[in-house]
Structure formats: structure tokens, C-alpha cells
């Protein structure tokens, strides 16, 4: 029985592909178009890689290329979990199958499709560009085969682990964060490509030296080593890839067995790990007593524990760092880009009550006067400052260090603090005046029908914040333009800090009576998610 499993699964995969195409004309057209595009691209890069043959940097190009390809295979199932139905082993749960033949059958079935064809083309092109001599050709065949299998097994192992993850609450929390990987990854790739464009292929030698030991790139590295006559190294690299393949298959098999024999994680009482004590952390003792400390503690806990809040914070922190620092690294940046950190983090003050979701009723039932509302808003602003103030300072100092313009540090810090204050002030006011819901599931950050409101609140708030900063900005411009302004530019640090603090205070004062007077309206607005 089990001996026949592989052809059955392969036929299943082919039927699924065929039936998928039969479903609708649009889908067929899309599939054929993407297939043609991928094949065309495969042929082009194959030609490109063959043209690279003989180049002294050929090995440094193909090794990172294969590593990137493998990373792509690893990431794919996370973003397109429904892309391949045979990737979802939960559909086979009811069938009496043993893990070993099943793994073999699924592995062979995964080799069918556009993805594997593209990968095969790229791998063949890679070995063609680096293989020289008979022994190298032998290594080539083994290397290509191993690299392809590692890629496919990697995707399968990740997919199965992902399914197990998505059936638990913790896993779904993580899935909300996965969009960030792309956002931040794109920035890094963009930066890397720019470096490469300016520095030439030789730039890749360093990473390639490391990556040639990382499977499956090591399988292609082995071909390069064999061409240079270092057979011992080549065998070792090939063995590394083989070991990785064995490891991945074992991992996949284990996950598969557990997935198919244990109940869905979401139906289990999550008693495991519940025993972990969530006693008062050291944090609580440092915070002030009363409403202020209580609200700060809750806000800071949510930055870490609530996936939506966490995603927003990580995005702000990452972009607030990447924009000034990467621009400074490329030599295209102005030192004033450092204010970006303060601006990005200040955005977190916006829609404070929307971040509470409908749990805002717990806050609403305890606010009975503008004074309560003021303390509540002030505590939220303070919680934000605990993270923002040191972060914006560090980003500014790092940017200054990269650009090497130390005399400008005080004034840039001053502008940053003023901007942060203005963001907190406008954020508090718009939180009270234009609250909107943040849906807890999925990637959307605004509830349907409220996106206009959200955009108006954030954009309007940011423009107002910039206008509110005008006095400090004007002072900065004056300090830069006037003859003896440089001697006085240090004054901008205390001026900016005091101005920021004062404007925050004024903003909170204005927002508090609005919050206290509009509690039911705010609750209605934030309960749509």
C-alpha cells in the first residue's frame, strides 16, 4: 500500500494544478502569464549567469544568490499559506498514512511547479558559471540536486511549523508582526543594492566567504571549491548541505507527525505556560503611585503584549532609525533627518483610545472629571516618553556621530524635543476629538468607513505639529544664517526642550475636558473593530 503513495500524491498535485486552472479563465490567464514571465526570467538569468563564467567574482555572486533564493523559499509559505493545497497536511489527517512514506511523497510532489523549475534554472546557471574541470562537474550535479532538495524541504518544514503556529493565539499574534519583516527587509535590501551599485561585485566577497558554509549555498560553494582543486573543502561543504537536508526532513517529519496526531492547539486549554508568574516587575516600583503609574504600567505592558500596538511601535522605531542613519551612512543625509525619530514615535500618541479598542469602557467608567482625563492622558504621554525620549536622543547622537557635525547636536536635539512635544500635544487632542477603531484581526489599522477620519486626524495633526514647532524652527534657521548665530545655537537645546514640554502641557490641558465630555462618543467610535 504505502509503496504506492508517491505516485498517488504526485498525481494529486497534478490534478490540483489542472483543476485550479479549470476553475476560471482569469485564473488560468494569470497562471499562464506568471509561468511565461517566470520562465522568461529564468532563461534570462541563466544566460546572465553563463555570461558570468570566468569572471573572478563569479563565485561571490552565485553563492549569495543561492542563499537569497533559499531565504525566499523559507519565507514563501508564510505569506502564501494557501498557495499549495498539498502543502497543507491537515487535509490528509483522516488517512492512515505513515510519516516516512508521506514525507517522501510530499517532497517529490513539491518538486512539481513553476517555483522548482525557476530554482533549477538558477542553480544550473550558478554551477555553469563556476564549474571548471571534470571533478567539478560531478560536484555540480550533486550540488544542484542537494540545493534544490534543501530549498523544497525548507519550504515544507516552514509551512508545517507555520500551520502549527497559526492554530495558537501566540502564533496569530506573531503573524500580525510578519508584515514588518517585509517592510524592514525592503529597506535593508534597498540599502544593500545601493552599496553594490556604487562599489561593484567585489563588495560581495565578504558575505560570500561566510555564506559558502551555509546550506544550501554551501552546495554551490562546493562546486566553486572543487574547481579550485580544494576537494576536501568541497566534500565538507557538500556534506553540510546533505546534513541540512537530513535535519530538515527529520524536523518536518516530526512536526507532521505531531500535527496529524495531536488536537488543534486552539481547542486545548492553554494550561501549558500558564503557571508563569506575572508578578509585579521591577518597572512597577519605579513608576509613580496612583492613576499615573497604573496607566503608564498598562500602556507599557501593551507595547510588549498587544500585537497591534507592538507592530506599530516596531515600525516607528525601525523607520525612525533607518531613515536618518542610512541616509547618513550613504552621505546623502542631513543631520536634521534625526528629527524623524521624534516625529515617527510621536505618532504613537495619536488615537490613544482607539488603541484600547472597546476596552475603553473600563477607562470611561473611571473618568468623572476633566482632572481624571488630564491625569489619564498625561500618564499615556509619560509612558510614551519613557521610550521615546532616550530613543530620539540616541538616534540624534548616532546620526550626528556618522555625519561628524558635533556643533550641530544641541540644536538638532532641541528641534527634536520641540517636535516631540508638538506631536504629543496634537496627538492628545486628536485622540479626544477624532478617535477611530483599530481592528484586532488582520493587517488593517483602520475600521471600514473610518479611514477618512483616521487620515484626516493623523495628517492634520502632523501638519499642525509642524506649524506648532515653527518658532523653534525659525530660531534654528536664524542661528544658522546670522553671522554670530553659531555661538548661540546651543541655546536651542534648552529652548526646544522647554518649548516641547510647555506645548505638551497645553495640549493635554486642552484635550482633557474634551475627553471627559465625550466619553460615550469616543467609546462608540473605538468599538467598531
Amino acid at each position: 500500500m504505502t509503496a504506492d503513495l508517491t505516485p498517488v500524491v504526485v498525481r494529486l498535485k497534478l490534478s490540483l494544478l489542472r483543476n485550479g486552472l479549470r476553475q476560471s479563465g482569469g485564473r488560468r490567464a494569470a497562471y499562464i502569464a506568471s509561468a511565461v514571465a517566470v520562465l522568461l526570467f529564468s532563461v534570462l538569468q541563466l544566460l546572465g549567469l553563463i555570461a558570468l563564467r570566468g569572471d573572478e567574482h563569479a563565485g561571490s555572486v552565485v553563492v549569495p544568490l543561492v542563499a537569497v533564493l533559499a531565504a525566499g523559499w523559507a519565507v514563501m509559505p508564510l505569506f502564501f499559506p494557501g498557495g499549495d493545497e498539498t502543502l497543507d497536511p491537515t487535509r490528509l489527517v483522516m488517512l492512515p498514512l505513515r510519516p516516512r512514506p508521506l514525507v517522501r511523497a510530499l517532497l517529490v510532489a513539491s518538486l512539481i511547479g513553476i517555483g522548482p523549475v525557476f530554482t533549477l534554472c538558477l542553480l544550473v546557471g550558478s554551477v555553469v558559471s563556476v564549474a571548471h574541470g571534470g571533478t567539478a562537474y560531478v560536484f555540480s550535479v550533486l550540488g544542484v540536486l542537494l540545493a534544490l532538495l534543501v530549498c523544497v524541504a525548507l519550504a515544507r518544514a516552514v509551512a508545517v511549523a507555520n500551520i502549527r503556529l497559526l492554530t495558537s493565539r501566540k502564533g496569530r499574534d506573531l503573524a500580525v508582526l510578519s508584515g514588518l519583516v517585509i517592510a524592514v527587509g525592503a529597506q535593508v535590501v534597498n540599502f544593500g543594492a545601493q552599496r553594490l551599485g556604487s562599489g561593484g561585485l567585489g563588495q560581495l566577497d565578504g558575505p560570500a566567504d561566510v555564506l559558502k558554509w551555509v546550506p544550501p549555498a554551501s552546495a554551490i560553494g562546493a562546486v566553486d571549491s572543487a574547481s579550485e582543486g580544494s576537494y576536501g573543502v568541497a566534500v565538507l561543504q557538500l556534506a553540510l548541505s546533505a546534513a541540512a537536508l537530513a535535519g530538515l526532513l527529520a524536523l518536518w517529519s516530526r512536526h507532521l507527525t505531531r500535527l496529524m496526531t495531536s488536537p488543534d492547539g486552539s481547542t486545548l486549554p492553554s494550561a501549558q505556560g500558564a503557571a508563569r508568574e506575572r508578578g509585579s516587575t521591577g518597572l512597577a516600583r519605579l513608576l509613580p503611585a496612583g492613576r499615573t503609574g497604573t496607566v503608564m504600567e498598562r500602556s507599557l505592558r501593551y507595547v510588549w503584549r498587544d500585537p497591534k500596538t507592538k507592530a506599530a511601535w516596531v515600525t516607528s522605531l525601525a523607520i525612525g532609525l533607518i531613515v536618518p542613519v542610512f541616509n547618513a551612512l550613504q552621505g546623502t543625509g542631513s543631520i536634521y533627518f534625526a528629527c524623524f525619530a521624534a516625529g515617527m514615535l510621536g505618532v504613537q500618541m495619536y488615537n490613544q483610545f482607539g488603541q484600547d479598542t472597546s476596552a475603553f469602557w473600563m477607562v470611561a467608567t473611571t473618568i468623572s472629571s476633566p482632572r481624571d482625563a488630564y491625569v489619564e492622558l498625561r500618564a499615556r504621554a509619560l509612558a510614551l516618553l519613557v521610550i521615546t525620549l532616550p530613543y530620539a536622543t540616541v538616534v540624534t547622537v548616532v546620526t550626528t556621530a556618522l555625519i561628524g557635525d558635533w556643533p550641530k547636536l544641541p540644536e538638532v536635539l532641541g528641534v527634536s524635543f520641540a517636535l516631540l512635544g508638538a506631536m504629543l500635544a496634537t496627538g492628545a487632542w486628536t485622540s479626544a476629538r477624532f478617535p477611530y477603531s483599530i481592528p484586532q484581526e488582520g493587517y488593517k489599522n483602520v475600521a471600514p468607513g473610518q479611514s477618512g477620519l483616521a487620515a484626516a486626524a493623523v495628517v492634520g495633526g502632523m501638519v499642525s505639529a509642524a506649524l506648532l514647532c515653527a518658532p523653534v524652527i525659525a530660531l534654528t534657521i536664524w542661528a544658522n544664517l546670522s553671522a554670530d548665530g553659531d555661538e548661540w545655537s546651543w541655546v536651542l537645546l534648552p529652548v526646544g526642550a522647554v518649548y516641547g514640554a510647555a506645548i505638551t502641557w497645553a495640549g493635554l490641558r486642552l484635550a482633557a475636558p474634551r475627553t471627559a465630555g465625550r466619553l460615550p462618543e469616543i467609546l462608540t467610535a473605538v468599538s467598531k473593530g
Binding site: 503557571a275 508563569r276 476596552a359 468623572s368
Partner: protein, 256 residues
């Protein structure tokens, strides 16, 4: 008899739909009060307006003699609320949630922790106190919500469908806590559409249908001559005419 809650001319419209159409009601203090009615009768809307979570179009609400909308300082410290369909701060553990709520209410930290520990114990949540509320079952959520509403020892407790989706064991625990609470002179107002439950728990009921109060008073008066509150309720809301006897006569699982 003094009124715990006094509602006068309360109206609420959502667009074209009238959710609450002019309610006048005097709820006596120290009683276990049930607000009953079919789904969509306006129970949740009424309770939201009474507790200050939804602004009425017209009318006034007094709790212990203080206007909910003009004098929130006096009212909010006197009432406890367990709404239906609104979230809690679910990324806190049960214990953290109680600590947070109590401190927001202005109670001293030590007192909050002492009361929280007792409530968690009585409500059988002590074992799950360090688990995040997001991982709680429906019954556990209702219980932690009840604990949060009781923490500041309110005079009047408003509970919206406190037994909805709750298992029998948790329901019994909630009943026990509420009975002890009313025995000491406090008032409980809760909404439900389960008549048997209201009949066994309450000594005073208000029947609501289509945004209006159809009957109110001590349980015996509202029940009148009817054999059960269920029957009295069906007569009041006029759902008696539907006879299932002659239709569906093919049902019964015998001949196909």
C-alpha cells in the same frame, strides 16, 4: 421605598430605528432586579445609557439621587458595570486587570490587592490569575468582569447578560456571589432573556419589548395568575398566537 435607579423619559434612536422609546422606571434599592425581554428589545441600549456608556437622545437617569450625566463624580464611584459585547484589557492577566481597575478607581494599592485575591479565590479564578484574559473561556471572562465590577464595592451593580454562554458551575458561583452581595443591602440590576433564571433569582422584574417597558414590579405581581414567568412574558409581548401544532406535521423522524 427608596429608588436605587430612577429613569425618566429615556429615548434613543439609531438612524431610523428607535431602540428605546420613552422609558420611565423606578428601581427599588436593595433588590435583585431582572430586566427581561427578547433579543433586540433594547435591554443593552437601556443599560448602556443608565451606566453612562451611551448618551441618550432624551431623558434623565438618577442613580442614588444623582444625575448620571450632570454629576458623574457622585455616580461613577457608586456603580459597578459588566457590559456585554465590549472587550476587557485582555492582554493583562486576570490579576493585573483587577489591580489596574482598582487603582484607576482610586483605591489604595494594598487594599486592591487584598480584595482582588479574595475575589479571585471566591470566583474560582485563583488558578488562572496569571494567565492573560485573552486566553480565558467565556465563563472565566464573565467572572473576571464581575470581579472588576465589584472591586470598589458599589451600591448598584449593572450586569448585561451575565449568564450568557456561562457553564453551570460558573453560573452557580456567580449566583452565590450576587446573592451574598444583595443580602447586605446592595442592588443588582441584570438583563437576561432566560426566564427561568430571572424567576429563580429576582424579586423584582421589568419586562421590556420593542424599546418599551411592558410591565414592572415585584415578581409575583408581574407573573400574576400565569403558571410561570415564561407564560406571563409571552402573553405580555404577544407571542401567544403562533401555533406550531398544524404546521410541520411531517416532523417526527418516523416515515420519510
Amino acid at each position: 421605598m427608596t429608588s436605587a435607579v430612577s429613569v425618566r423619559g429615556l429615548w434613543k434612536r439609531f438612524g431610523q430605528q428607535v431602540a428605546v422609546a420613552g422609558i420611565d422606571l423606578e428601581l427599588p434599592a436593595g433588590k435583585f432586579i431582572g430586566l427581561v425581554g427578547p433579543n433586540g428589545a433594547g435591554k443593552t441600549t437601556t443599560l448602556s445609557m443608565v451606566t453612562g456608556l451611551l448618551r441618550p437622545d432624551q431623558g434623565s437617569v438618577l442613580v442614588a439621587g444623582h444625575d448620571v450625566w450632570r454629576d458623574p463624580v457622585e455616580v461613577k464611584s457608586r456603580i459597578g458595570v459588566l457590559p456585554e459585547g465590549l472587550r476587557l484589557f485582555e492582554r493583562l492577566s486576570g490579576r493585573e486587570l483587577l489591580g489596574y481597575t482598582g487603582r484607576l478607581r482610586g483605591l489604595p494599592g494594598g487594599e486592591v490587592d487584598r480584595r482582588a485575591a479574595q475575589l479571585l479565590d471566591v470566583l474560582d479564578l485563583a488558578g488562572a490569575q496569571h494567565k492573560l484574559v485573552v486566553d480565558y473561556s467565556t465563563g472565566m471572562r464573565k467572572k473576571i468582569g464581575l470581579a472588576a465590577a465589584l472591586l470598589h464595592n458599589p451600591e448598584v451593580l449593572f450586569l448585561d447578560e451575565p449568564f450568557e454562554g456561562v457553564d453551570p458551575v460558573s453560573a452557580q458561583i456567580i449566583r452565590g456571589v450576587l446573592e451574598r452581595y444583595t443580602a447586605s443591602g446592595a442592588t443588582v440590576v441584570f438583563s437576561s432573556h432566560v426566564m427561568e433564571l430571572v424567576e429563580s433569582l429576582c424579586d423584582w422584574v421589568a419586562v421590556m419589548a420593542a424599546g418599551r417597558i411592558r410591565a414592572h414590579g415585584p415578581l409575583d405581581e408581574v407573573r400574576g395568575a400565569a403558571p410561570s414567568l415564561q407564560r406571563a412574558f409571552l402573553e405580555l409581548v404577544g407571542a401567544q398566537g403562533q401555533d406550531t401544532g398544524t404546521n410541520l406535521d411531517w416532523l417526527g423522524g418516523g416515515a420519510r
